[in-house]
Every structure is written in structure tokens, then in C-alpha cells.
Subunit: 637 residues, 2 copies
């Protein structure tokens, strides 16, 4: 059943191109910056207390008096976990003894903050052991454990050291004892541990991990009253969320019955990722069918053209089919990262470019848009339309910021993006015994366990010639031809290859020294949304390669709302400009600017004056101050 | 300063046309239906307990045991007040001894529910006298008193009976004692009593009414901390609203400093109405300037093309300039009624058609859209776009219903619309010693105190010839030429009149027997919103006469979102169809239907297939079941 699997960390080394620049941004800016945040060392930024929470927990467990109680969000521990994971992947890509020492130190601290029974969570250790596992709805204990398991796996893969792995195996024992041996009811309010347990299982073969993951997936939503009963059994709660809002945390029905992607979008895609991974392990048709239905629900009816998901801030959630407002969208960076996870697991089951196309869409647009080009400011929310004066100001738009803040009290997205970028090779490539899969086009060197190794040379996403120089061949190379590439050709050693695709992949036999080149479509394309999407009717959006473009005020006389795109008008890619927005190819498109209309409503259509529209890649928006921005532009003949 | 004033109730009698049909709907359906609701006599409808609350209060005050405690919203008393007002106006228009007896009976009951000190409120009398005037933020005591004062005025004008007037003058004494003599701090959380006190003052000359109205207007927002202090001084509250959200209840600054229309839109326009009335009485320039600024803020930057106001359900409030989403709008029926009040008071100060144009826009579109054609179902929220599956379903659209429910627990809008329609002549006409003003075009007979009387004959809003047959002349007739009427002509006794307008009014000298005829523009017009309104870019809306049109699914193959309006395409008014939607003129417009696109996003623009679009007046939408509906239609060449 399992067609192929993710590449091991370290099997992909970026070269000097686009991906490399982002990995360097993560390594040089985000990881050190986030480390300082964990330690509360950034003046003027809200304190995170992440390390302080672990230190105080360690003191308490040693019988000393903590200096302070727990501080921060209940899931604050996961910030450290995600930082460890990102730093570990960075170590693989770029050895750094100082960083490794920092990792050793914080892992030692984590060990000291672990209770003798393996329990690990600073909030519940500092706030009273009697509350453990009593608020699965909001407590995030299992969520934090899950992230720490992922960190343990990455640190082990980076260094061969099992220090964190041992801590987390004891934690697995603790959780296993509670939920399996002692048969405690319930399942995590925020899915995450399921995919993490499966990751540990893949790495270590620990059967308890598999059993626990299956357990949490199988019992979820079976007792739809569980959270209500749980809430009634205690006289406290973390936030007082409604325990009856089952859709929010995907506890409204058993997972195998799910057909529509609903609720908190990060919770949703984390759960679906684990479901797909489990289906891949067990080959269970019913679970796989649910995964396919949920995938279709997202990408066919509930996803933005930028790969953003979550149409509303209310519950940071999916809403209903075709409801995709561009201005009030939530579109959390983490949700698009989770969508990449889900896509990656679906690809393992079924190497079909439809999964990789979405993974690429989410990565190059929403995930990268979450990060300022300086690596020090971040969006949680990724709108497709921003209007100064409305965005961040109107009651309905308070979540929709127009410039990236430096950090958040709830800091999930920045470290999540960091770990994703440092481990992008795991998503870009896959392998099985016979074949190496190239799902994403990323320049650099790939060394697979099946023996295949090659160098990928390209200026992608700004260049559309992609050359694979096979160092060690003898296996099949499966090259995804992106769905957006209307025309393409491929050559091996200068000879054209037949255009036979299997589910969007070109399967090429390789030998040592082969040179395989793809020529993808470099045209500027327009996308049209289905008329069912009320927000986009009459408008088009611009895409070139995998990049969705947008219009920003700073390039367009300040006023994007007055611009119209000329239907079938000329569109030109300007030369690559290394000095603009860390290096982009801007586009020029024929369009119109609507003459100013002072009246709110007028019975005379303002003159549509021909002009050139200047578009930049969406991921690079909001790097030049407050700006109008639009992805969907009304078309005019 | 005071240029003209509203017509007395009863000075306008509708004929047999459009207004008459609505007045008959109110008289035959709404008033009896609402009366039964007050008495909890409608099976299957949520009980209102309005009369029951008064009965129980009366029992308590007699020293008997109430059968039940207070039930309903804290402002439930105002439902009875608005019904009395509507029924009284109806009595003026159409004498009805049975209805008058019902009025006498409920007024007797109100008297029995009044405390010996003049205090009148069933919630606070049943829930403990010690709470009186302690929660001005949410308690609505002064709001309910205000509505009852308006009812008292109307009942007196209808019958000459001062029974309710006496009750309310005692209530004025009670409020005066508390706020003026005893110098209690504070002002009403929901403005209403200010305009009501001024109405009583105009009727009776009671100086206490003027003084109290001035007091409440003058102290409002001076102590911006008042509600916080009030909340801190008690250990209970009605709903627990945030006392610091000053904009919500317009307590964020002194009224004379206000420039932007903010907060709860009904509260806002009720306050502005009283401010304009007071400015008109006192001639105070500063207050008048604030009124003008607030007017401009609404109509130039924060009003929908339907005359709806309140861009968000969050606080049922204004948001920011040019933020006018068509689907998530609140657009409460009551807010547009309040906007008509405000317009009417501004017209008294300054007979300029810009006020009357807005009054007409609000009336013929949002106010009438609030009422099902059967008179038994009502919208609070009046969206400009409705999409089954999204409207009423998505978390952001739960308020935006797609069919009118029969009644609401919070039943403010239906009786508010009823009283407005029955007293429409007061808004349509004005007078001073020398001149009769026709602000709105309503068929029927007008008899002014200045001696002028005339008959207005027209099929407006579906016919654009308007004939005024002067019965008693000798005064000037000031006829508003609507701002939307690009071309027009006027004749007196068959002779063309010069097209000299003063602020949009044609001033015509009259003599007994004169016949003055207006020929207004019957063309089908397109309106374009300023590009600053993101939601409307690239779209047009259709208007004919004062009626905004919309496309509804039932007339257009079910799918309105796929329709485009042909730029400069032909548009045709079909013959008046008496059997359709209680009688309308449907429009046919050249347009396109976008070929179906199954993919969520496609890089091929769907074919735009020429077709005819079928438009109906917006006020008549949602009378034929669940339907897509749109006011703003994307244009295509």
C-alpha cells in the first residue's frame, strides 16, 4: 500500500537558490531570534517565559521553590519543541557546535522538568498535578507532548543523540499507562500527538506509539458527549471554551465518517495528516476514503488560491463550501503548513500531482507570506486583500493585520515555518526501493536511501528550466510536472522524452551521469474562481509558475482598489531584480485605473483609463509598510 | 432658524396606491398580528409576555402576588409602546372603535403598572425597585419611557384623549426629579428618550421635557468613565456588556465633538435625530455642525446603496469609512428607520433634497425590505447579497437570514416599521407659514395647517408622472425633484415651469384649482460605488426611480453569482405586473451568464454567454423561498 515515503532529513541539501536563501534566513535570523525569545532576551518584546517555565518546573520537581508560577499560553512548551525541531533540522543542513550545545542544554532542562512517572508539561506541573489529563479539551498536554516527540525525532536524526528521545519514550509510557492500561477516556482537544506518535513509530518501531496513535484516532468523536462530561466533572477550565462545539475540535463524529473539513483549521489538518499516515500503515480502505473526502472538501471547495485555509477568525476555522472572503479570511500560516503535511502523507499513499500541486501552492504562497523578508516579523493571518483603514481596524478585521508584528504571545506560526523550511527536502522528495520522487522543485543535492543521488539545478520559482544531473542512477526518477504547467517538455541527455505522465509524474529511467531537463511553462497565467465563490466573481488572479501574484499600493500609485485587469491584455515578466524584495521577477500587466469618484455612489461610470499594473509575488507583500493589496483583480475588457 | 416642520399626523391621507397598500398591510395584518403577539396569542411563536409583564407589575403594585416574574428582553415594554404608536396612527388614518377600545384597555393597564412616584418599567418594578436607574448602560428604562412618550403623543393626536399623556407626564416628573432635581449622574445607554422628550415638548410645551432632553444630550460622553463607574457601583448587570466600549453607545466623547458615525447604528441615529431637533430649537451652531458632520459621515462614507447602515453584526454597528460588505452587513431595519428620522430633522433645519433623497432611499429599499409582502414575516438584517449555504450558515453569516422569520424574541423592527408606515405623511411632507414641502412623493390628500391643501396623484414608485391638484392654494408648494432624476420637467396648468431649483426643490406659487405636474426620469440607471468600497469594485447596481433592484435566483435560473451585467447593455422595464410580488415592474437587462466551472480555480475563463437578466425591486426579495440574491452585479463589456 505504501507507495513511497518522505526523504530522511539530511538527504536534501539546498544549493544557492531560492530555498537556500530561506533556509539561511531561518538559520541566521529566525532560529537565533526565536532562541532569544524563548529565553526572554528580546527587549521590547512580550516575554515568552518558555525557558523560565521549564526552569521553574525543574525547581519544583527538585523540591525547591519555583521563582515564579507558569506564565504564558497553556501550550507555551510547544514553542520550545518547535524551536528544537527547527534547530535540529538546521544542524543537519549546517553543522554548528554552538547551536548543538544550546540544544543539549535545553534538552537537559527538559529532562529536569519531567516528573518521575514520565509526565512532561510545565503548565500542569506548576499548576497542580491533580489537573493532569482532566482538561483534554483545552489543556494541550498531549499537543505539547506531540511537538516534543517530533523534536526528539529530529534531534536524534540530526545528532544521533537519543537524549530527548529517551525523555519522550518515558512520556509515551506515561500517556500509554493513562489512556491504554488505565483505560482513561478521551482524546486530545488539539490533534498533533497522533502524527507525532506515528513519526516516532516510523523512527523507532515502538509499538506503544502506534497503538496510542491508533487509539486516539479511533476513539475521537465516537463519544460526542465526552468533552461535555469532562467539563462537568471539573470545576475549572483553561479558557471556558464551549465543550459542545464538537466541530471546532473535530469531535463531532468518528473520523471515518468525516466528509467535510470543519472547525479549527490547524486542528483539522493535523488530524487528517495522522489519519492519512495511519491509513498508509494499515492499508485500511475506510480511513483512506475519509482522507480522500476531506482532501476534496478542502481543495475543491474550501481553499484559497494561495493555499490558505480557514475562512473565518471565529474559531480560526473552516466555514462552508465556497465561502472564501478575501479580506476577513483567517488563512493561518500554521494551517497551510499542516495542509502541506496532509498533502505529503496523501502523496505517500498515492503519488498523484494533485497533492503536490496543493503542497506547492501552500508553500510558495501562504507559508512564505507568513514570514517577513527580514525573518523577524510574522503573519499568522494571511489575507488576500488588505485595505489600510479597514484591515486591522473594522471590528470584523481586527485579526487581519496589514504589517507583520515582530512576535506574538501565541507564537505557533514562526517556529512552525522555521521547522518546515529547514526540513523542506522531506516534503519535496520521496522514495521507495525503485523510484525517487520529485514532488517539489528545489535546487540542491539529493541522496536517497535507495541509492539514487542527483543534483537539481534551477532558478525556480523564477526560472522554469530544471536540470537533474544524476550522480548515481539505476533507479526511476519520478518528476512531477506541475498541474499549472500547461505546456512542457523534457529531455534526457538532449533527447526529447515522451510526454507520458502517470498521475502528473514523468517516470524516467536513470543511469549514472544522465542529465534530465524539464522545460516548464513560464507564461503568466490568469486564474478564475468558480462562480460559486461570491467574493471572486468578475475577478481574475495572476500566477506565474507556482507563484500567485498580487498588486500592492506602493507599486501602483497607492490605490489598488481602483485598478482593473484588462481581459486578454498583455502581460510581461520583467527581468529578475535581485535588489527588489530579496530578489523577485515583477510583472507588468495591461489594465485600467478607474478615474477618481468622490461620491459614494454615482450614476456615471468613472472613466477606465488604460495603465500598466505592477504585480509582485504574493509571498513578498507587506515588506514596504502599510499598503493596499489585492490578489483578485476585477477584469475589464 | 426652523425652516419648516413635520406635518401633523392625520394631515396626510393615502389614496389607493403604493403607500396605501402598505398602510393597509399594517392595519389589517401587522397591527392585529402584533397585538396578538403582545398578548401571547400566536400559537407556535415564542411568547412575548409583554402584556403579562404589565399585568404582573400591576398586581405587584396593588399588593397582590404576581403570577410570574418578568419575562423577555429588558426592553420588552417598548414593544407595547411601539404598537400603541402604530395603532394610534392607524386610527387617525382609519377610525376603528374596536382598535380604540383595545388601546384604551392597554393604556389603563399601563396606568396600573405605574408606581405612585411616576416610575414606569415592568422589568425594574418586578425585579426590585432598588435597581432603578442603576444600570443606565443596559437597563433601557429611559429607552422604554421614550417609546411610551412617543406612543402617548400619537394616541393623543389620534383620539384627543390624554390618558397616556398624563401617565407619561408623571413619568417625566419622576425622571426629572431623579436626574435634574436630585442631580443623579448619567445618561441613557440607548438614546431614544431625547427625541421623545422633544416630541412631547413640541406637543405640550412642557419645559421639563425640553430641559431633560437638553440635559441628556449635553452630559452624554462628557464623563467618558461614567459607565465604568456605574458598573463598579453595582454587583449585577443585565447582560454584562463592556462598560468601557464607549463608541458602542456613543458615550466616547461629548456629542458636539462627534464627527464619525460610530457604534450601534440604531443608538447612533436616534441620538443624532434628537441632536438635530435640539439644534433646530435652539439654533445652536456647534450642535448643528456636529449633526452635519455625522450626516456626512453616514451618507458619504458609511451607507449602503439601499439606505442600510451598520456594516457589522458585532455590536450591530458602524465600522469604518467605505467598509460596506454586502453579505455580512447588519443593515438593521430599525437603523434605516432611524436614519429617516435623522433625515427628517435635518430637513426641518434645511430643506435640501440631499436629506430627502436619503430618506427616500432608506424607506423604499431597506425599510420595506424588512417586511414580507404578507405583513407577517420580518427581517432585522437586510443583506445586499444572499447565498443559500453561506447566508445564515457560515459562522460569520449567522445573523444574515435568507428568509424572513415570523417574529423575534427581540421584536423591535416590526412595530417600528408599522408606526413609520402609518405616519409616513409626517416624513413625506412639511410646512411653515408660507410653504408646503413635498419631500417624498406619496399619492393621497394633504391638508396643511397653513391652509394649503392638495391631492397628489401618481403611480410612484412605478410611475413617474406626479400631479398635484391644488384644492386650497395661496401658498408656495416646494416640490423635491429627486436627486436621481437626471432629467425632469414640471408644468403648471399645462405651462412649463422654469427649471429653477433651490437645494433640489422647485418652489411653485399656487392658487385654488391649480394643477401642477412633474415628469420625472423613468430611465433604468446604473450606480457605481466609489473604488474605495472594496466590496463593489467592478460591479454596478440597478435603480429605477427610488427603487434599487436586485437579481434573485428564482427569476434567473437559480444562479445569480454566475451573472454579469453587460456594460452599456440594453435595459427594459416590463409592464407593471399586479400579480407578481404584490405588484411590481420587473426589469430585463442584457447580461451574460458565466459557463459552469466545476474546478474551484481554472486558468481558462469560463465562456460568458449572452442572456437576459431579470431584476426585481430589492424590497420584494425573499418572498419566494430560499434564493440567491445580489444587488451589486459584476459588469462585463
Amino acid at each position: 500500500m505504501k507507495k513511497q515515503q518522505q526523504l530522511r532529513p539530511g538527504s536534501y541539501q539546498s544549493g544557492t537558490g531560492f530555498i537556500h536563501r530561506y533556509q539561511e534566513l531561518v538559520r541566521k535570523e529566525m532560529i537565533p531570534y526565536q532562541y532569544d525569545v524563548l529565553w526572554d532576551r528580546i527587549p521590547g518584546t512580550e516575554k515568552s517565559h518558555v525557558i523560565a517555565n521549564f526552569q521553574n518546573t525543574a525547581r519544583l520537581l527538585k523540591g525547591e521553590q519555583p521563582e515564579e508560577g507558569f506564565y504564558g499560553m497553556v501550550f507555551q512548551d510547544s514553542d520550545l519543541a518547535k524551536w528544537i525541531e527547527a534547530a535540529s533540522f538546521s544542524l543537519i543542513n549546517h553543522p554548528d557546535p554552538e547551536l548543538e550545545k544550546e540544544l543539549d542544554d535545553v534538552i537537559r532542562l527538559i529532562g529536569e522538568a519531567q516528573d518521575t512517572d514520565g509526565y512532561l508539561n510545565t503548565y500542569f506541573t506548576l499548576n497542580g498535578k491533580e489537573k493532569r489529563f482532566k482538561d483534554l479539551l483545552e489543556g494541550h498536554e498531549l499537543y505539547c507532548s506531540g511537538h516534543m516527540m517530533e523534536a526528539a525525532a529530529a534531534f536524534y536524526q540530526a545528532t544521533g543523540k537519543d537524549s530527548l528521545l529517551k525523555i519522550m519514550e518515558q512520556n509515551v509510557d506515561c500517556i500509554y499507562r493513562h489512556f491504554i492500561e488505565e483505560k482513561a477516556p478521551g482524546f486530545p482537544g488539539h490533534p498533533e500527538i497522533e502524527l507525532a506518535l506515528l513519526k516516532l513509530y516510523h523512527l523507532t518501531g515502538n509499538q506503544k506509539c502506534l497503538e496510542l496513535a491508533q487509539h486516539f484516532i479511533n476513539v475521537r468523536g465516537v463519544d460526542t458527549e465526552f468533552y461535555r462530561k469532562e467539563a462537568e466533572a471539573r470545576d475549572w477550565s483553561i479558557w471556558g471554551n464551549d465543550p459542545n462545539n464538537g466541530e471546532y475540535q473535530q469531535s463531532h463524529m468518528p473520523v471515518r465518517k468525516m466528509k467535510d473539513a470543519v472547525g479549527h483549521s490547524v486542528r483539522a489538518v493535523y488530524l487528517y495528516t495522522a489519519m492519512a499516515d495511519l491509513a498508509s500503515l494499515t492499508g485500511e480502505a475506510e480511513l483512506l476514503e475519509a482522507c480522500r473526502a476531506l482532501w476534496d472538501s478542502i481543495v475543491n471547495r474550501r481553499m484559497y488560491v494561495t493555499g490558505a485555509i480557514g475562512s473565518t477568525v471565529i474559531g480560526e476555522a473552516f466555514t462552508v463550501d465556497y465561502h472564501l472572503p478575501n479580506d476577513t479570511v483567517y488563512g493561518e500560516t500554521c494551517a497551510s503548513i499542516g495542509l502541506m503535511f496532509f498533502a505529503s502523507r496523501m502523496l505517500e499513499l498515492d503519488p498523484d500531482r494533485r497533492y503536490a500541486d496543493v503542497m506547492e501552492r501552500a508553500f510558495y504562497n501562504t507559508v512564505l507570506a507568513g514570514i517577513q523578508l527580514d525573518g523577524r516579523h510574522f503573519f499568522y493571518v494571511n489575507p488576500l486583500e488588505a485595505v489600510p483603514g479597514v484591515s486591522g481596524k473594522a471590528q470584523t478585521h481586527l485579526h487581519s493585520l496589514i504589517v507583520r508584528p515582530s512576535w506574538y504571545a501565541c507564537a505557533c506560526c514562526p517556529p512552525n515555518a522555521a521547522r518546515l523550511i529547514e526540513s523542506i527536502g522531506m516534503y519535496a522528495y520521496g522514495e521507495n526501493e525503485t523510484t525517487g520522487f520529485c514532488h517539489l522543485i528545489t535546487e540542491g543535492k539529493v541522496t536517497m536511501e535507495n541509492g539514487l543521488s542527483f543534483l537539481c539545478e534551477t532558478e525556480y520559482p523564477y526560472g522554469f528550466q530544471v536540470t537533474y544531473r544524476i550522480e548515481k542512477g539505476g533507479k526511476t526518477l519520478a518528476l512531477r510536472i506541475p498541474g499549472w504547467s500547461r505546456s512542457w517538455k523534457a529531455e534526457k541527455n538532449g533527447q526529447a522524452l515522451p510526454q507520458n505522465l502517470v498521475k502528473g509524474y514523468l517516470y524516467v529511467e536513470t543511469a549514472d551521469g544522465d542529465e534530465i531537463t524539464l522545460y516548464l511553462d513560464d507564461s503568466i497565467r490568469r486564474l478564475y474562481a468558480s462562480s460559486k465563490v461570491a467574493a471572486d466573481t468578475g475577478s481574475a488572479c495572476i500566477q506565474r509558475g507556482p507563484l500567485v501574484y498580487c498588486l500592492e499600493g506602493v507599486d501602483n500609485g497607492g490605490d489598488v482598489l481602483s485598478l482593473r485587469l484588462k481581459e486578454n491584455g498583455a502581460a510581461k515578466a520583467l527581468p529578475y531584480d535581485a535588489s527588489l524584495l530579496s530578489g523577485i521577477i515583477p510583472l507588468e500587466l495591461e489594465g485600467y485605473v478607474s478615474a477618481p469618484q468622490e461620491e459614494l455612489y454615482s450614476d456615471r461610470k468613472p472613466e477606465q483609463i488604460p495603465c500598466l499594473l505592477h504585480a509582485i509575488p504574493y509571498y513578498a507583500w507587506s515588506n514596504r509598510g502599510e499598503n493596499q493589496m489585492r490578489v483578485w483583480i476585477p477584469e475589464e475588457k
